[in-house]
Amino acid sequence: MGFLDRLAQMLGLKKKDAKVLVVGLDNSGKSTILNHLKPEEAKTDIVATVGFKQEVFQTKTLQFTAFDMSGQGRYRSLWEHYYKECNGIIFVIDSSDKLRMVVAKDELDTLLQHPDIKDKRTPILFFANKMDLRDALSSVKCSQLLGLDMVKDRAWHICASNAISGEGLAEGIDWLTEQLQSMLKGK
């Protein structure tokens, strides 16, 4: 980081950078969530992500670089290449897809066991997305099915969301910002 950047930061003119990895099964709404967080002029139409996409958005205090990973089976092996460099993880769940809850749990368990995640205290934010759908499970039920009570070695938070209307997103991002800020400060 150059001197000018650091100066700007000290003066509060430039925000700190945080890298977040956005993962979850295909069709869970990852791209839709990021699309909602992006500034108005950068919004795009949502199509199924191929490989991954890099997105940038800001909150009051942080500048986020998000890696929007594709959730399709054949691309899920890409996730782990970003575990090392990310400061936080957003795990998106389609709370109306009861059938694949086990698959989401399996992928989450794999993620938590990965050496690049296991020994780091990377915070995880869960979005129980598509809460507007009729047969959507509650965030409590989702956390139960994913076995989140067993996750004790790191900070995590789950909130129900609707990526289309944006409902619930702010709550989650606020929590993540707080977590990342305290972590980045501690560095």
């Binding site: 009861k98 059938l99 694949r100 086990v102 698959v103 399996d106 368990d109 794999t110 047969d135």
Partner: protein, 590 residues
């Protein structure tokens, strides 16, 4: 990749099924009674979310329904009038969005649903009625014969093996007092003979794309296979089989080249090709087929004798596996993104075995016997396995993304070296000729052999009886005189030494008052002691009695000498031995 089995958390996790399958759903009381042919997975709403379509057999007489599941929720039910025998989905037009139609085979009808609403009903062409059967019904209608005669005539026709119409069959079953009413009710309606659909398949018409238009392929009880046009529902092609088809396996395109492999009720597998009217016999199984799958170029058949057999399409057997229990259902696994192809076999011991080629690579244990299976894309998951159970349960399992199946056999089996082909020499012309001869005359050869075998047995039995009657055998079977006799001839002639060995084979009783004598041609031989008295024979010991025999002839001929063991005062010998005398050396006069 990370290892999965190291933490205790994973091992206590009930959703993991031996590390390869995730248990997505289990409802033991879904009240689904069905089998593999009546289960299919398809994107019938064109929303990228594959639905599970099941024709439920209910109790077999009512509660028959076409059910559609979106994920784990039952979203639609359509009542079926008759027992379903198969379900398939197919694209019948080019319209957007690409929604496939659902076809349900039931009785003589093919019901087609679009957007889950009844769309079309196809009826199988009716069969030709036996003219005699038609004639007798006509006569009843014209009141020329009465119902009693009708019944007699129909029964006679059935006894001769004529296939009758359903009306006639029902008529024969009736009680005598109901005949009149039944005949009066139906005699004015024309007689119709219909067959039923036994098996259902689909075949792409002219393009191989995933969503290309497909024809329906129907196997019927009348030993025929029909191919239906998907737009007009006309019969494009009719093919004949020697028996009733029970399983169909279709590959290829109707307009280009296709093959239908048909397993029939007579235990044979036939092959139908484009442009042929009749089936080519392919495989003769030694047990009834209970499932048929195609694996690349090979055919895998499950049989009722608890075996899984693999053949080439030419009919050559590649391997057979004995299974631990009888087969309840079979399904093909084709996981394209993994390039994994295998055959699943559900067994009556609540297990599902997965075979890659002939190697057992995985076993899924279930809580109930699996009666129906389907592997494919369900919801958004490509590798889903749907299973229905005997008790009406529904199980959904998902293959883990990281699951790998070991190529080698999970069970101890023959070593791989057993599969190496031996360098067998070429068949000679003689061998081929012999084989041909044996093949052509197998029946007469077998008869001849059996005939000779019986003659041989008869001769043996006759001789045995004769021997028993005359006590001509050297071992006495008489329980009061258990004796064993053996005799030896020593020397080169003209004088021989004849030794008779006698043994009492009883355990404790001694034999008394026996004597040995001989029968011989006295022109040929002279026996020094023609009468040998036998002392008491102690059980178990062997006694030797000797005498000299002179050969009187110098012509180089020999004869037999009979040795008799007799009891004093009885003329029938206890035992007899025949001694073939050797040819005597001529006396050298010095």
């Amino acid at each position: 990749m990370t290892s999965q089995s190291t933490t205790s958390k994973d091992s206590i996790d009930a959703t993991r099924d031996d590390g390869k399958w995730l248990s997505a759903f289990y409802d033991p009381v879904a009240s689904l009674y069905t089998f593999s042919q009546c289960i299919t997975l398809s994107d019938i709403n064109a929303d990228g979310d594959n639905k599970l379509i099941i024709a439920d057999l209910g109790t077999g007489s009512y509660q028959m329904k076409l059910k559609v599941y979106k994920g784990t929720n039952l979203v639609s039910e359509n009542t079926l009038i008759d027992l379903p025998t198969g379900v398939a989905t197919f694209y019948m037009d080019q319209n957007e969005p690409r929604t496939p139609a659902v076809a349900v085979a039931s009785g003589p009808y093919m019901y087609v649903y679009k957007n889950l609403r009844p769309y079309f009903k196809f009826t199988l062409p009716s069969l030709e009625i036996n003219p005699l059967e038609q004639d007798v019904w006509n006569q009843v209608r014209d009141e020329r014969i009465d119902v009693g005669v009708l019944r007699e005539m129909l029964e006679g026709m059935r006894a001769e093996g004529t296939s009758l119409t359903v009306r006639s069959l029902r008529f024969i079953q009736l009680q005598a007092e109901d005949l009149e009413a039944f005949a009066n009710q139906y005699k004015h309606t024309p007689l119709k003979k219909q067959t039923v659909i036994t098996s259902l398949g689909t075949m792409k018409k002219s393009l191989a794309e995933e969503d290309a238009i497909s024809c329906l392929v129907l196997g019927t009880e009348s030993k025929q296979v029909y191919i239906l046009d998907p737009e007009a529902f006309t019969v494009l092609s009719t093919m004949n089989l020697p028996s009733v088809p029970v399983f169909l396996n279709v590959s290829g395109l109707y307009d280009v080249e296709f093959r239908i492999i048909v397993a029939c009720r007579n235990g044979n597998i036939y092959m139908l090709k484009r442009g042929t009217k009749n089936a080519r016999s392919c495989i003769e199984l030694n047990s009834q087929p209970v499932g048929l799958e195609r694996m690349g170029k090979n055919i895998v058949v499950g049989c009722m004798d608890e075996t899984l057999q693999c053949y080439t399409t030419k009919g050559k057997k590649l391997w057979t596996i004995k299974l631990p229990a009888s087969i309840t259902s079979m399904e093909n696994v084709d996981h394209k993104s993994k390039g994994f192809k295998a055959v699943m076999v559900a067994l009556s011991n609540c297990e599902v075995h997965i075979y890659k080629d002939k190697y057992l690579v995985n076993i899924i244990k279930t809580e109930d016997i699996v009666t129906g299976m389907k592997f494919g894309r369900f919801g958004r998951e490509d590798a889903s396995l749907i299973m229905t159970t005997k008790g009406g349960g529904l199980i959904v399992k998902i293959l883990k993304r990281t699951a790998v199946f070991e190529e080698k056999d999970a069970t101890a089996g023959p070593p791989v070296s057993q599969n190496i082909k031996l360098n067998v020499p070429k068949k000679t012309k003689l061998f081929v000729d012999q084989t041909m001869r044996e093949r052509e005359h197998c029946v007469s050869m077998h008869r001849m052999f059996q005939h000779d075998l019986y003659r041989l047995r008869l001769d043996a039995a006759r001789s045995y009886v004769k021997a028993l009657e005359t006590s001509m055998n050297p071992v006495s079977t008489n329980t009061t005189e258990p004796l064993k006799l053996s005799a030896q001839v020593q020397g080169i002639g003209p004088t021989f030494k004849l030794t008779v060995n006698l043994q009492n084979t009883s355990i404790s009783t001694a034999s008394f008052n026996l004597l040995i004598t001989f029968q011989f041609d006295d022109r040929l031989y002279n026996i020094h002691k023609t009468y040998i008295p036998v002392p008491m024979l102690v059980p178990g010991l062997s006694y030797a009695f000797e005498t000299f025999v002179d050969c009187l002839s110098d012509k180089g001929i020999s004869d037999t000498i009979k040795v008799f063991v007799l009891r004093q005062g009885r003329s029938v010998p206890i035992i007899t031995a025949m001694i073939s005398m050797p040819v005597s050396e001529t006396m050298v006069v010095v």
